[in-house]
Symmetry: C2
Subunit: 201 residues, 2 copies
Amino acid sequence: MAETTLRERKRQRTRRAIVDAAVELFEERGYEGTTIADIAEAAEIGTRTFFSYFASKEEVLFPESDSRIAAAVEAIAARGPDDRPADVLLRALRNVNRDSDEMVSRVAALRLRLIRNVPAVRGRGLQLQFDAQREIARHLCAAYADELDEAGAAALVGAFVGAVTGALQVLLETAGDDPAAMSRRLEEATDAALQPWLRRK
Amino acid sequence: MAETTLRERKRQRTRRAIVDAAVELFEERGYEGTTIADIAEAAEIGTRTFFSYFASKEEVLFPESDSRIAAAVEAIAARGPDDRPADVLLRALRNVNRDSDEMVSRVAALRLRLIRNVPAVRGRGLQLQFDAQREIARHLCAAYADELDEAGAAALVGAFVGAVTGALQVLLETAGDDPAAMSRRLEEATDAALQPWLRRK
DNA sequence: ACGGTAACTGCACTAAATGCATATTTGCAA
DNA sequence: TTGCAAATATGCATTTAGTGCAGTTACCGT
C-alpha cells in the first residue's frame, strides 16, 4: 500500500511543508497579512511552485477536503437493513465528528477561526460543503433507490447539513477557541438540531 | 417618500447603468471574459468609480441582496396565533418563490446560470444565503422567544433552506425547462425531507 | 451666490493567478 | 551505468482585482 516512489514522497513532503508554513504564518500575521510569496519563501520553494500544489491561497486551509465525503459514504455502505435514510445520515454525521484526528489538528482549528473572520475562506468552505452534500446525496440515492429520487435525497441531506451548520454558526459566535469546548458544543448543536428526527422511531 | 434629491437619483441611475452594462457584457463575453474596466467603460464611468458602487465584481450580480430577508421577515410578522415556527418558515419560503418580480428579471436568470458555472459567483451566493439565514433565524427566535433559542432557530432555518437549496441544486442540473413541473418536484422533495418538522402537532 | 460635502476620476501600487520557456530531478529500460 | 522520457521546479512577464490617495467637479442647503 505504501507504493511510495521517491518522487511521490518528496511531493508529499513539500506539500506538508507548504501547509505547515502557511499555518504558521497565518497564525502569526493573519490571513490577509500573509502573501503567497511569504508562504513560498518559508516553505523554501519558488512562488510559482506554490500553484502546482494549491490552486489558490484558500486551498491551503482545506488540504484533505474529501475526508468528510469518505466518512459519509462509509456510513452509507455500513447501513443495516432496518435503517431509514435519516438514521444513516445521522451516523454519518457522528462519524465525521468523531474523526477527531482532523478535528483537533492545528489546521482545522485555524480554519474554523478563519472561516469566521475571512470572507474568502468562508466562501470556499461553503462551496466545498455544498459539493460534498451533492456527492453524499448521490450515494444515498443509490443506496435507497426504491424510496428516494435524486431531488429527495438532496433535500434530505441538505436539511441535515443545513440544520447542523446553522446551529453551529450560532454556537461558534459565542464560543472561545478552546477545541474541547468547541467539540462539546458541536455535539450539543447536532443533537439539538436533529432532535425532530431522533424523536421519531 | 420619494425624497429624491438629484444627487440620489443620479446615483441610482449610474448604479442601474453599471448593472445593465455588466449583464450585457457577461451575456456576450462570459463572466471571466469581462473585466471591470470593460464594465466601467460601457457604463461610462471611470474604472475607479465602479468600486464606489460595488465592492467586487460578483456584487453586481446581487444588487438587491436582502429582498429575500425582507420577504421572510414579513412572513414572520404576518404569522397567525396557531402557526408553528415550521409553518411560518414554510410560508416564508413560498413567498420567496412567488416573488417573481425578481425571479423573472434578466439579472436573476443570468445569476442562476453563472452560479452554476462560475465558482466565485457561487461562493458569493452561498455566502449571502448563509448570512440571510442567520438574520431570519434572529427574527424567528424573537417571534417565538418562549420556545426557540438562537441555536434552535438557526437549526430550523438551516434545515428548511438547506432542503430547498439541495433539491434545487439537483433539479437545476437536470435542466427541465418547465417551471411548473420543477416547482411541483421541489415541493415534493422538500415536503418529504422536512416531514419530521411538519408532522408534529 | 457661497461654502461645505459628496461623488468622480486618474495614478500608483500590491497581490493573486496564469502562461510560457527553461532547467533540474526522477523513473525506467536497455 | 547510461541515456531518454516524463514529471517537477522555477524564473519572468503579464493580466486583473482591488485599495489608497490626491485633486477636481457637481450638488446641496443656507
